[in-house]
Amino acid sequence: MNLSVITSSVVMIFATWLALFPASGFAADVVNMPPPEPYCQWKVDNYAIKKPLCGYVGDAKRGKAIASNGSIGNCLACHQLPIDGVEAYGTIGPPLEGVGTRMSEGFIRLRVVDTRNISPMSIMPGFYRDPKLINRPGKAFAGRTFLTAQQVEDVIAYLVSLK
């Protein structure tokens, strides 16, 4: 008796969850999001952001995970990356294999943070663009950057390591 009540309530909760958040993965991320972090200012100097965001140190291994995760960095939506086991990747942006030999760290940082400083019509989202510049952000995303400063530094450490 008890067991069936528990089972049915679990099913009910699951069904309600599905009904409320049909696009599951995406909406679940919204629910689990921590409050926005304070925004760190950055400076463009000769087509580069030379200083790491908020002074954070990046970790290439974490960066690789962020880049390949569809609900975090989602770099593969548009770029090809040398990651094993990836079946589909986008062709909107250039392939990024060997990007660490072609571009300096500061240039890569500017590209990831807000590429429109280099090409104003670019389709690429600014991953650390000033939240004040965002038009009609979704309610859950107001005041946020696409990635956190630490996540951006991790991705940059990963991209710099692609040699």
């Binding site: 696009a23 939506a77 062709t91 909107i92 965002i134 038009n135 952000p137 995303f141």
Partner: protein, 257 residues
């Protein structure tokens, strides 16, 4: 003489440039961008899940309402055979008297109010089903949205909305659907964002969505605050998108990612 000789080289060059340009700008149905297996699914009436919505729409079309004893079919025929498919292909239309953009669903809803006193809210699943059924009657008919007269001003507003960046992903419709059709976004080819297949069955959500719902889903993906149902913005954007599809055959219910 030298000029004539030069023109032998210049003219074909110019022609080539011009033709390359027109091919690029020509509207192409989303059908050309989906995977072969998705095309096969759309073409097979037993495999296309959108046909279930068409069937549901037909059922509602034939449902007699209590107070009037009438159904849509009372006037338009059991299979909607008395509907004017050329007129269906004109939607959304502009009502010059009320200064209002009327979508096909709104037209159905208005018509429905003549036979029942129980109105349905915009994008109620029953209205979407009726919209899908009615639009399906005009399948193969070429989209023919008005672009002149008072509508031309509205289309300019629609185009502005189309080229405005939204949300945390900070892209406009123009970025994907004008600059990058044919490119891959992960495993899917980006289309021109044409409206001729809508309402369409979406593989991503497993549901039929009309054009307005699709726009809202797209804005959600951009992590933007979607335009509200029945808002001026969504009507203007819907009108603009459908006008871009002029000349393309109606495919409702298309199967799209």
């Amino acid at each position: 003489m030298r000029l004539i000789r030069k023109s032998f080289f210049i003219l074909p060059g110019l022609l080539f440039l011009f033709s390359a340009n027109t091919i690029y700008a020509e509207p192409r149905s989303g059908y050309e961008y989906i995977k072969p297996e998705t095309r096969a699914m759309q073409d097979d009436d037993f495999a296309n899940p959108g046909l279930l919505t068409v069937d549901r729409g037909e059922e509602l079309f034939n449902q007699k309402h209590e107070n009037s004893g009438k159904s849509c079919a009372s006037c338009h025929g059991e299979e909607g055979e008395k509907l004017n498919t050329k007129k269906i292909a004109r939607y959304p239309v502009y009502n010059n008297k009320t200064k209002e953009i009327i979508t096909l669903q709104k037209r159905i809803s208005n018509c429905r109010s003549n036979i029942t006193d129980k109105p349905l809210v915009t994008d109620h699943p029953d209205l979407v089903a009726l919209e899908t059924f009615v639009r399906n009657r005009a399948s193969g008919e070429k989209v023919n949205v008005q672009t002149d007269g008072p509508v031309s001003e509205l289309l300019k507003k629609g185009e502005t909305l189309y080229t405005t960046r939204y949300g945390l992903i900070d892209m406009s419709c123009y970025h994907c659907h004008t600059l990058y059709p044919g490119s891959m976004i992960r495993g899917q080819k980006i289309s021109q964002g044409q409206g001729n297949g809508f309402p369409a069955y979406r593989l991503d959500t497993g549901e039929v969505a009309n054009l307005h719902q699709r726009i809202q889903q797209c804005l959600n993906l951009l992590r933007a605050e979607p335009f509200e149902t029945d808002s001026d913005e969504i009507k203007l954007l819907g009108l603009y998108l459908m006008s871009r599809s002029n000349g393309l055959a109606i495919e409702t219910p298309a199967v799209r990612y």
